[in-house]
C-alpha cells in the first residue's frame, strides 16, 4: 500500500504540492490526471526521490517503509520504479550494458544475487520480444538517437527487468502514435499483478482506454480535487479540465 499524507513540496521556493493525500493499495492501478502545471510530474519525481524537490510537510510510505528517508537507489531496491517522461541519454553506454548494470544493482540490493551474463541475456531476450524491441536497439547507446516510441518501450523494458512492486508511469503516452501507445500499454498490462501497484500519470484519457485503472484521481493546484472510477476519465475527456482551473483546449 502506498500512503501519501498531507504532502507539501516546494521547488525553487514555489509550493507545487499543497497537501496531497493518496492511498494506492497493492494490486490496483490508479490514474492521476490533471491540467498542465497541477503538479503531476512533481509527484512522480518526489516518489522516486529526485534532488531539488523539497518536502516541507507530510509523509510517503510504501508497504510501511518511509520513502522520504531513502535515497533514490534505495527506493529502487525497495521496489519503486519511475518510467520517465523524458528518459535520459547516456552516450557510449550500450543499452544492454545499462540494463544489466541496473538489473544486477537492484538484485544485489535485494539479496537476490547477480545474474550471470547468459542468464541475463535470456531474460532480456524474453522481455524484449514481448515489447517488440529490435535486438539492434539494445546494442545502441542508451536512448541516444532513439525515437519517442523506442525510448518509452525501453522504459517499460526496464520496468519488466527490475521487477518493481510500485510502478509510476509519468506521461508514458506523450509523443507516441496510437500503435506505440498500444504496444506500451500491452507491456504495462502484462505487468499488472496482485502484488504490484501502479500509478499512471497522464494528461489525456487516451492511454486509459488501454490501461484501465481501478481509480482515477484528478490533481489540481497541488491537491487531489476529485476521485472516482474509470468513468471519471471519460467524463474529463468530454468536459476538459475547465472546472479544475484550466481553460478548455
Amino acid at each position: 500500500m502506498l500512503e501519501v499524507k498531507n504532502l507539501h513540496v516546494t521547488v525553487d521556493d514555489r509550493e507545487i504540492l499543497k497537501g496531497l493525500d493518496l492511498e494506492l493499495p497493492k494490486g490496483q492501478v490508479h490514474a492521476i490526471m490533471g491540467p498542465n502545471g497541477s503538479g503531476k510530474s512533481t509527484l512522480a519525481y518526489v516518489l522516486a526521490g529526485k534532488e531539488g524537490y523539497e518536502v516541507t510537510a507530510g509523509s510517503i510510505h510504501w508497504n510501511g517503509d518511509d520513502l522520504l528517508a531513502m535515497d533514490p537507489s534505495e527506493r529502487a531496491a525497495s521496489g519503486v520504479f519511475l518510467a520517465f517522461q523524458y528518459p535520459m541519454e547516456i552516450p557510449g553506454v550500450a543499452t544492454m550494458t545499462f540494463l544489466r548494470t541496473a538489473t544486477n544493482a537492484v538484485r544485489k540490493a535485494r539479496g537476490e544475487g547477480e545474474l550471470s551474463t547468459p542468464d541475463f541475456l535470456r531474460l532480456l531476450k524474453q522481455k524484449a520480444v514481448a515489447l517488440k524491441i529490435d535486438p539492434e536497439m539494445l546494442r545502441r547507446p542508451l536512448n541516444v538517437g532513439f525515437s519517442g516510441g523506442e525510448k518509452k518501450r525501453n522504459e517499460i523494458l526496464q520496468m519488466a527487468l527490475l521487477d518493481p512492486s510500485l510502478c509510476i508511469l509519468d506521461e508514458t503516452d506523450s509523443g507516441l502514435d496510437i500503435d506505440a501507445v498500444r504496444i506500451v500499454a500491452e507491456g504495462v498490462n502484462a505487468l499488472r499483478s496482485k502484488e504490484r501497484a501502479m500509478l499512471v500519470i497522464t494528461h489525456y484519457q487516451r492511454l486509459l482506454n488501454y490501461i484501465v485503472p481501478d481509480r482515477v484521481h484528478v490533481l489540481s493546484d497541488g491537491r487531489i480535487a476529485r476521485s472516482g472510477g474509470p468513468e471519471l476519465a471519460l467524463e474529463l475527456e468530454e468536459t476538459g479540465y475547465a472546472e479544475f482551473g484550466e481553460a478548455a483546449a
Binding site: E51, G52, A76, M88, G92, V93, A105, V106
Partner: protein, 490 residues
C-alpha cells in the same frame, strides 16, 4: 540539497590517499651524490660502465642543459624545482645490473607482486584469466631489475632488455638510434634526461618479425628525493610489428618527485609500433601535497614508408602531467594515431596532447582525446597538427572531448593547426560536457549507486579510446578509472 551542491561538498572530502600503490619498499640503495654536476654525470656513466661515446653524449647534453630555461608555456603551476636538491641516481644495492630471476632480491619480487606485476614467467597478469603472456622489464628507481621471457623472445630475434644492457651488448644499434628521434637539444627536460638517464627499456624487432608477445615495462619510483629519468628506445625494422605497454606507480610522499622520461620510437618501412601507457603515478594528497611531476617527452618517427605508430595513453596519476606523445610522419603513406584518456581529480594538473607532424606524402593521422576533470583539477588538451610543403594529401582527424564533474574543475582545449600544403585535409571536433544531475538521477532511480553511475557514464565517454588498449589491460583500466574518480560525486 541539490546534487550540484552535494557534489561540491563531496569533492571537498576527496581522499586521494586511497592510492593503493603508496607503500615504500625498505631496501638499501646506492645513490649518486646529491645535486647535478659534471661529476654526477660521470658517476652515472661509470656505474654503467659506458663507452666513451656515450659519456661524451651525456656531457654534451649536460652542458647544453646548463644554458636552457624551464618551459613555462604549459597550463600548469608549481613552485620552482631546485635541481640541486635531487638525487639523480638510486639503485637497490643488491641489484648491480640485471640478473636472472633467481638472483633478484626477494624484497623486490615482493614489491612487484604487491603491484600485481608478474615477474615469474609462468604467471600472467594478476586477475586476468587466460590472458596472453606478457614479457616484463621491471625498472626500480634508476635501474632495471629483471626482464622476463628474454630467451623466448631471442628465439624470434627480438631484443628486449634494459637500455643499459643494450649499450653493452648491442652498442651499434643504440648508437645508431639513440637521440635520433628526440635529439639532445630538444627541450629542457629531454636534455636533462639525456645527461642523466639511468635505465629504461630497449626493444629491437628485426625485419619481417611480428613480436610473439606483448612487451611491457613497469616503472616504480621508490627512493625519496630521487628523480627518475628513464630512457626507452624501440625500433621496429622493416615490416616488423610490436605492441608495448608501460605502467608506472610510486609511493606516497609529501615532497614532489620528478619524473622526466624520454621515449623514442622508430618505425621503418611497413613497420608498426603500438605503444600503450597506463600512468598511475602518485597524484598527491587531497590538499594537493606531494605527487609526481611527470615531464615526459615521447616521440615516434615513422621513418619508413607506410609505417604506423599508435600511441594509446591512460593518464590517471601524477600531480602534474606534461606530456605530448607525438608522431613524425616522415615516410610516404605513414600513419600516426593518438588515443588518450586523461583523468584528473583532487588538485591534479594535466597538460597533455600530441603533435602530428606530416612531412611525407599521403600521410594520415588520427587524434581522439578524452579529458575528464573532477575535484579542483585542471585538464588541458594541447595539440599540434602540421603539414609541411611536401606533405601532399595529408589528412588528419581530431576529436577532443572534455567531461566535467563538479564545478571547481576546468577543461581547456588548445589546438594548433598549420598547413603549408594546400591539399591537406584537417578536421577538428571538440565538445565539453558535464555529467548532468538528470543523468545521475536516472541511473540512481535504476538502483545504481552514485559511484557506479559516474563510472558507467565515464566509461561510456571514454569507450572509443578504451577499445584501442590491449585486451588484457582493458578491464584493469576500467577499474582504475573508477578508483581515480572515487569520491567525485555525492
Amino acid at each position: 540539497m541539490p546534487a550540484v551542491q552535494e557534489t561540491v561538498a563531496r569533492v571537498r572530502e576527496i581522499d586521494v590517499d586511497k592510492y593503493k600503490y603508496g607503500f615504500v619498499t625498505d631496501i638499501d640503495s646506492i645513490r649518486a651524490p646529491k645535486g647535478l654536476s659534471e661529476e654526477v654525470v660521470r658517476f652515472i656513466s661509470a656505474k654503467k660502465n659506458e663507452p666513451a661515446w656515450l659519456l661524451d653524449w651525456r656531457l654534451e647534453a649536460y652542458r647544453r642543459w646548463l644554458t636552457m630555461q624551464e618551459p613555462t608555456w604549459a597550463n600548469v603551476h608549481y613552485p620552482k624545482i631546485d635541481f640541486q636538491e635531487l638525487y639523480y641516481y638510486s639503485a637497490p644495492k643488491s641489484t648491480e645490473g640485471p640478473k636472472s630471476l633467481a638472483e633478484v632480491d626477494p624484497e623486490l619480487l615482493a614489491t612487484y607482486a604487491k603491484l600485481g606485476i608478474p615477474l615469474k614467467e609462468q604467471e600472467v597478469l594478476a586477475g586476468v584469466k587466460g590472458a596472453p603472456r606478457v614479457a616484463v622489464d621491471a625498472v626500480f628507481d634508476s635501474v632495471s631489475v629483471v626482464t622476463t621471457f628474454k630467451e623466448e623472445l631471442a628465439k624470434a630475434g627480438v631484443i628486449f632488455c634494459s637500455i643499459s644492457e643494450a649499450v653493452q651488448n648491442h652498442p651499434e644499434l643504440v648508437r645508431k638510434y639513440l637521440g635520433s628521434v628526440v635529439p639532445i637539444t630538444d627541450n629542457f627536460y629531454a636534455t636533462l634526461n639525456s645527461a642523466v638517464f639511468s635505465d629504461g627499456s630497449f626493444v629491437y624487432v628485426p625485419e619481417g618479425v611480428r613480436c610473439p608477445m606483448e612487451l611491457s615495462t613497469y616503472f616504480r619510483i621508490n627512493a625519496e628525493q630521487t628523480g627518475q629519468f628513464e630512457r626507452t628506445l624501440i625500433i621496429a625494422d622493416k615490416g616488423a610489428y610490436v605492441s608495448y605497454l608501460e605502467g608506472c606507480t610510486a609511493p606516497m610522499r609529501d615532497e614532489n618527485q620528478l619524473h622526466a622520461a624520454v621515449v623514442e620510437l622508430v618505425a621503418l618501412d611497413n613497420a608498426e609500433i603500438k605503444y600503450s601507457t597506463v600512468q598511475n603515478w602518485y597524484p598527491g594528497d587531497k590538499e594537493g601535497k606531494g605527487g609526481i611531476y611527470n615531464f615526459v617527452t615521447k616521440r615516434g618517427d615513422c621513418r619508413g614508408h607506410r609505417s604506423k605508430i599508435s600511441w594509446t595513453q591512460v593518464e590517471t596519476g601524477s600531480a602534474i602531467t606534461w606530456k605530448y606523445p607525438s608522431c613524425i610522419l616522415r615516410g610516404d603513406g605513414s600513419r600516426g594515431e593518438f588515443y588518450s584518456i586523461a583523468i584528473s581529480n583532487g588538485y591534479q594538473q594535466v597538460d597533455s596532447g600530441t603533435k602530428m607532424i606530416h612531412l611525407g606524402r599521403d600521410t594520415s593521422s588520427r587524434i581522439i582525446s578524452k579529458g575528464i576533470a573532477a575535484g579542483h583539477s585542471n585538464n588541458t588538451y594541447r595539440g599540434l597538427v602540421s603539414a609541411h610543403r611536401r606533405a601532399a594529401n595529408a589528412r588528419n582527424f581530431t576529436n577532443c572531448d572534455s567531461l566535467l564533474i563538479g564545478d571547481k574543475c576546468g577543461a581547456h582545449t588548445v589546438p594548433y593547426i598549420e598547413a603549408k600544403n594546400a591539399s591537406a585535409t584537417f578536421e577538428h571536433e571538440a565538445t565539453t560536457s558535464k555529467i548532468s544531475d538528470d543523468q545521475l538521477f536516472y541511473c540512481l532511480s535504476r538502483g545504481l549507486s552514485a559511484e557506479e553511475a559516474v563510472a558507467l557514464i565515464v566509461n561510456g565517454f571514454v569507450r572509443d579510446v578504451l577499445q584501442h588498449l590491449p585486451m588484457e589491460f582493458m578491464a584493469e583500466t576500467q577499474k582504475l578509472i573508477s578508483i581515480s574518480l572515487e569520491g567525485s560525486v555525492g
